[in-house]
């Protein structure tokens, strides 16, 4: 297959971004920019999704730059892992774009640019999850960060939006500086910036262990920041609360997924050869992340802030899969890692669905307090039912996608004998019932002060319906999704 064709999902997204930007300039101040541009964005995302399906059979190789001297510099991998995350990125762009339609039109005079940044952030997710070279990892990570900062500050007349963006930027800049220092040490120790070459040099064991271990720890702190693992999570509640709600939805899914993609790729390289006890380190971080996330979420009064802590806890559960895999890295990489992929897939639909419900309420009420959900069953029965399904999925109760994700991740941990880790994970899921069902309790059993029905726009309705169906489908007809996750994880094991 032609090389350019293999890059078609990225090219389609980039072209759509610039098309939206151009149309926005042509239709300046026009109603059309608010009505048509979101659908152009969705059309671009759907076209990119078709392109991803088209290139799926060709996946398995590395692509890069061939120099004049005949050297080949690998930059992007086109393995199934990368393709899996491309699917995730494209779906996130489409769903976030749709849920933003009314929110942005009501609040900002600049309508088209929001979709440009959403598309570009999606492009950076695709590049980051495919990067096999430290230069490429750094560039796409910064691409993602910078688009996220701008999106967070999108409502610049709003104090909180700007404050959130500044906090995000300051934390992010420091984290990327530390990560970069790790990159420079890794480069110095191995003499290469290509992940596969680094793995080989480390395997030949002529490199300094102290250098590599300190480098990997610094790099992990950079990725940990993107995923919002404890103790690198402090930015996330503030950024999530202050950012425009559709952006919060994006931040809770996109950077987390891409962070896991790059974390998996780098750990697969650094892990196997090392005497360092990665399982202990990853388990500790995982336990801290889910416990802190869940405990602090208990007394939140703002739904966005609560979901921020909830998403920190969810990242903790996902990390269990990586810890489980690291306990037996030589074996089938599928077990723990395919669990993470399935978990991420379900988590994406669930979280975007919850945020769509939150956006629907915020569009009408102007606030995002948990108390606003009182009496939701009278005001909008459909949203209430959707809310229950999404929260069941976040807790991990069947028949929802979240249950399948947790089943595979915790199952991998038990399979590798990490009983304490799995136990703490299950205990944390029990704690999370309290705050998730706090919202459901208000929606069903507390009287509303005001019984006005909630009007939901067609675009938001579509998002809620699609995410709800997918959340249920992953559990009720799970085999295709399990196969997808398994084959994405298997190719990874073969690649190195």
């Amino acid at each position: 297959m032609n090389d350019l064709l293999l890059l078609s999902p990225e090219i389609i997204i980039a072209v759509t971004a610039f098309l939206v930007l151009t149309l926005d300039i042509i239709w300046k101040g026009d109603r059309r920019s608010a009505v048509i541009l979101p659908w152009v964005t969705v059309a671009g995302a759907v076209a990119a999704l078709l392109a991803v399906v088209y290139i799926w059979p060709a996946a398995s190789d590395t692509y890069g730059i061939a120099t004049d001297t005949g050297n080949f510099v690998p930059m992007l991998a086109l393995d199934r892992l990368a393709i899996f995350f491309k699917i995730l990125a494209v779906l996130t762009v489409a769903l976030v774009g749709l849920s933003a339609v009314d929110f942005i039109a009501q609040r900002s005079p600049f309508r088209g640019e929001f979709y440009v940044f959403t598309l570009l952030a999606g492009l950076s997710l695709m590049l980051l999850s495919a990067a096999t070279n430290l230069v490429m990892i750094y560039l796409s990570l910064e691409f993602l960060s910078i688009s996220s900062y701008v999106m967070t500050a999108y409502l610049r007349r709003d104090d909180r939006s700007v404050e959130a963006a500044i906090k995000y930027l300051l934390y992010g800049a420091v984290a990327s500086g530390v990560m970069l220092y790790g990159f420079s040490l890794l480069y110095g120790a191995t003499g290469s910036v290509d992940l596969a070459t680094i793995a080989r040099r480390i395997g030949e064991s002529q490199v300094s262990l102290t250098f590599v271990v300190s480098a990997v720890v610094m790099i992990l702190s950079g990725f940990g920041f993107k995923i919002a693992l404890v103790p690198f999570h402090q930015w996330s509640p503030d950024a999530y609360e202050g950012a425009p709600t559709p952006v919060t939805a994006f931040l809770s899914v996109g950077p987390k997924a891409a962070g896991f993609a790059v974390l998996i790729r780098v750990l697969v390289v650094a892990l196997p050869e090392y005497s360092v006890n990665w399982t202990a380190i990853l388990s500790l971080v995982s336990i801290l992340t889910m416990t802190v996330g869940n405990l602090v979420a208990l007394w939140q009064t703002n739904i966005k802030r609560m979901l921020a802590y909830s998403s920190i806890a969810q990242a903790g559960y996902m990390l269990i899969g990586l810890a489980a895999w690291s306990a037996e890295p030589g074996g089938w990489a599928g077990n723990g890692i395919s669990g993470i992929l399935l978990f991420l897939f379900a988590y994406m639909f669930t979280n975007l669905g919850i945020f769509a419900v939150a956006i629907a309420l915020e569009n009408q009420l102007g606030t995002a307090n948990i108390d606003d959900y009182a009496g939701l069953i009278r005001r909008s029965p459909y949203l209430s039912i959707a809310l229950i399904i999404f929260f069941l999925s976040l807790i991990g109760i069947p028949p929802t996608g979240g249950f399948m994700g947790k089943l595979f991740v915790f199952g991998a941990a038990i399979d590798r004998g990490l009983y304490i880790l799995a136990g703490i994970g299950i205990l944390n899921s029990v704690i999370s019932v309290y705050y998730y069902f706090g919202v459901v309790r208000r929606a069903f059993f507390v009287e509303a002060e005001d019984d006005t029905p909630i009007r939901v726009s067609p675009a938001l309705n579509l998002v809620v319906t699609v995410t709800m169906i997918m959340t249920l489908l992953i559990a009720l007809y799970g085999q295709p999704f399990i196969n997808l996750a398994n084959s994405s994880a298997q190719i990874l094991a073969a690649a190195f």
Binding site: E142, A153, V162, E163, L170, V174, Y181, G191, T301, R305
Partner: protein, 103 residues
């Protein structure tokens, strides 16, 4: 004949600069100074990259430095734009006074 400076000196200087930058980020309260400290961390990284690049006789490290410089410039541009906007809202760039989001 001048003796060559060993690579470890450059690495040490890089590490010291990085620590000063990181310390500045933790201690200083002015957001603009914090951005400057982040720049210092980036430049410490650049120095480390160039030292290794010279030592290993490979050009990759130098290419990396160009990328880092470009990205650092973009990051500062966004950061300063945000600080201008913040100053409009609150008439301050002191990060201790930016505290409407907490909990």
């Amino acid at each position: 004949m001048i003796n060559q400076v060993p690579v470890s000196y450059y690495l040490l200087l890089g590490a010291i600069l990085f620590s000063i930058g990181a310390g500045g980020v933790l201690i200083r309260r002015n957001a603009i100074v914090i951005l400057m400290c982040v720049e210092m961390m980036m430049n410490a990284v650049n120095l480390t990259f160039i030292a290794f690049s010279r030592y290993l006789d490979s050009a990759t490290g130098q290419i990396f430095v160009f990328m880092v410089m470009a990205v650092a410039a973009v990051e500062v541009a966004i950061g300063l734009a945000l600080l201008v906007e913040l100053n409009r809202h609150k008439q301050t760039v002191n990060i201790d006074e930016i505290n409407s989001l907490k909990g």
